[in-house]
Symmetry: C2
Subunit: 463 residues, 2 copies
Amino acid sequence: MNKAREFDQSVLAELKALLGDRVSTSAAVREHHGKDESYFPYAPPDAVVFLRTTEEVRDVVNICRRHRVPMIPYGVGTSLEGHILAIRGGVCIDMSRMNQVLAVHEEDLDAVVQAGVTRKQLNEYIKHTGLFFPIDPGADATLGGMSATRASGTNAVRYGTMRENVLSLQVVTADGRLMRLGRRARKSSAGYDLVKLFVGSEGTLGIITEITLRLYGIPESIVAATCAFDSLEGAVNTVIQTIQSGIPVARIELMDTYTVDTVNKYSKLSLPTKNLLLLEFHGTEASTKEQAEMVQAIAAEHGGGDFAWTSQAEERTKMWQARHDAAWAAKAAKPGWGMWATDVCVPISRLAECILETQKDIVANDLYAPIVGHVGDGNFHLTMMVDPSDPTYLPRAEALNDRMVARALALGGTCTGEHGVGMGKIKFLYEEHGEAMSLMRSIKKALDPDNIMNPGKIMGPIN
Amino acid sequence: MNKAREFDQSVLAELKALLGDRVSTSAAVREHHGKDESYFPYAPPDAVVFLRTTEEVRDVVNICRRHRVPMIPYGVGTSLEGHILAIRGGVCIDMSRMNQVLAVHEEDLDAVVQAGVTRKQLNEYIKHTGLFFPIDPGADATLGGMSATRASGTNAVRYGTMRENVLSLQVVTADGRLMRLGRRARKSSAGYDLVKLFVGSEGTLGIITEITLRLYGIPESIVAATCAFDSLEGAVNTVIQTIQSGIPVARIELMDTYTVDTVNKYSKLSLPTKNLLLLEFHGTEASTKEQAEMVQAIAAEHGGGDFAWTSQAEERTKMWQARHDAAWAAKAAKPGWGMWATDVCVPISRLAECILETQKDIVANDLYAPIVGHVGDGNFHLTMMVDPSDPTYLPRAEALNDRMVARALALGGTCTGEHGVGMGKIKFLYEEHGEAMSLMRSIKKALDPDNIMNPGKIMGPIN
């Protein structure tokens, strides 16, 4: 355990000498930084620093490590499993002012950004180039946070996750050194893949300060489509056959009837209240038309109807905004309730089984939990709403989540497809990884022997 | 340093008790296993074991680790940088009899194989399913070896490298434990990415025994094309614009005039003796035709002519076989000479510059080194031929390679795009990675504290 619960005043003095008024210990600022979008209670840091440069990150890490004070990197606080909670106190390193796009290499289809740049900010910045960055978690998260949690979203089925799209990183390690991991070359076999090790390490191995990301050309034609199914199996089998046919679908998302209902109300839409697939096709005009027709034919074989498609940017944007707002729609449907976004991912052949069993479980336990899924990847979420006036509700929700994860693991899946471990998924990791957990622990101990980098996350207590 | 140069006879006795006649210390077998396709001299192991099961690998590792004897996993010996040379003696673990395809999950587009299965064997095995595995280094290497070196090949521009296509691994660690890394789910954020850490670790962290690989649907239509350019810039700019336009080209390869010349002679072809792009398009009939037409138009803008395309399987196969035989073609052009396949990768915007400077360097130093490249990735190779009768030749070749790597690194590239580090690229790693090398060393020490897993590779001497 770290000694850090009693925050050392000399740390504060050193931080203030370095940063002046960009160090805060006010209750409001600490509380704001001690809470993410998870269901965990507040755990405020002892101080928050607002940094502007990589060198400042290095200097702050060196102050903290000399005093063995925990450090928690913070983007915009949209993590979903308690990643940024300062459960052992320490210094929260707010990266949101490190928000410069440092370079855009149009010919190489990559960009270099500071960790505090958000995904929407990057896309706005590069709009004129005809390029875009596809990874889109629901929130407008920072690219540092997205790298740290190995985020993905609706485009992953075609463009991959942060794992596939981070080419290179600049990091500050636990011993206070600044270094680059990886290079801008598209591929390399030059030693251990440290980039991929840091992507998804959730601040436990060091702090990501700069990221080099892959970009893609905005397709000439983008076609969005919806297709409704009475049965969930029909929808999922359509997905399986679409992917197996090699149709390069860019997005293929599922909303169950509950989600469609809340989304229709919240976003003022009139989508058919069934199991709905939302699709998007990227390519030339001819190829997107062909893709849409092929999927329509596959869907028809599996009972899919109401196939509607559009190449209108406005309608498309509205549909995907509605999809991204599904969590807010569920919240609006249950005013005053808490929200808990769950996250599992299974091999696609087991997806229908996993979702159907989970649906039954929701009904049997009288819970309210609309389902959405990045079904092309086998990934789905419950937007589980929690009634604060019913003391049995949260325990029942927790038990449902436990069973859902157990089910996913038994089907060859993972306890988190894209949200990360944080604090919420620690208890499932041994079941998922078995002996391999000891390798993670060895790596953590080797790179952060004092356990000062976001302690208590992923690995739980290890020192 | 390991004490292992004097091979312990009690190790041999234990191995024989376990494996009977599947342990060999014959000079012929040891020599065969002490040489790959690199330019390094023989370094035979003290013994070679031929294993059939994962449990045997675990048991052999436990025997060796108790005696602190080095272990070198061996597939079919096609590595190109001395990866499998037993420079500190020890036991060569021949995996080639672990050649079972254990499972094919057609709906999930993945397969589970033992490490000794070769890429062609896998593709033959799954042919009837309509699926294929795309990664194709020149040799018919084992999938264990390809995972260990993070191999790629001509299809990487569309399908990625081994990095993107290994879902899960079974490994035996240096402390003799058998474990699984990763799961069959398409994506996961559940902790450190140990799969990606082992992919490319070249046997230095443990031994890969099983691999779960992504598969893809064989496209309905495959169209191959060639296009000739007087200038190298024209060819490379065609590549850049093709990729930036988002045309999902499956292969886009460059052969310089020297390579075309040798290939024409060796494979009895009549390709235009110019800078040649070889392309392949995957999709539906309509989309491959459209892709080919789009690239033809781009090529024409950059001086590309003689555009020829075919959907005939026979012609296509002949063309790609010729491409894969480019190294043999160069060998045939210089009978009795040695061969040294070099490998660098740069951001694509710097590719023309890097190749042109290298071409000048070859001419200025009177060396024979045809150029081939996976240009869609910025990766290229010299098939450097070495005259054994000229004592100045190898040093001049070595100096050329040094300058080529320095050039690639200065342009933001890597010292190896796909061949790996082995022994040959160790000297460039600090220049490439700087401080980050210390993280690799820390990880190596944490997971293999006695430095018995393929010692002297990637990291050089570290104990």
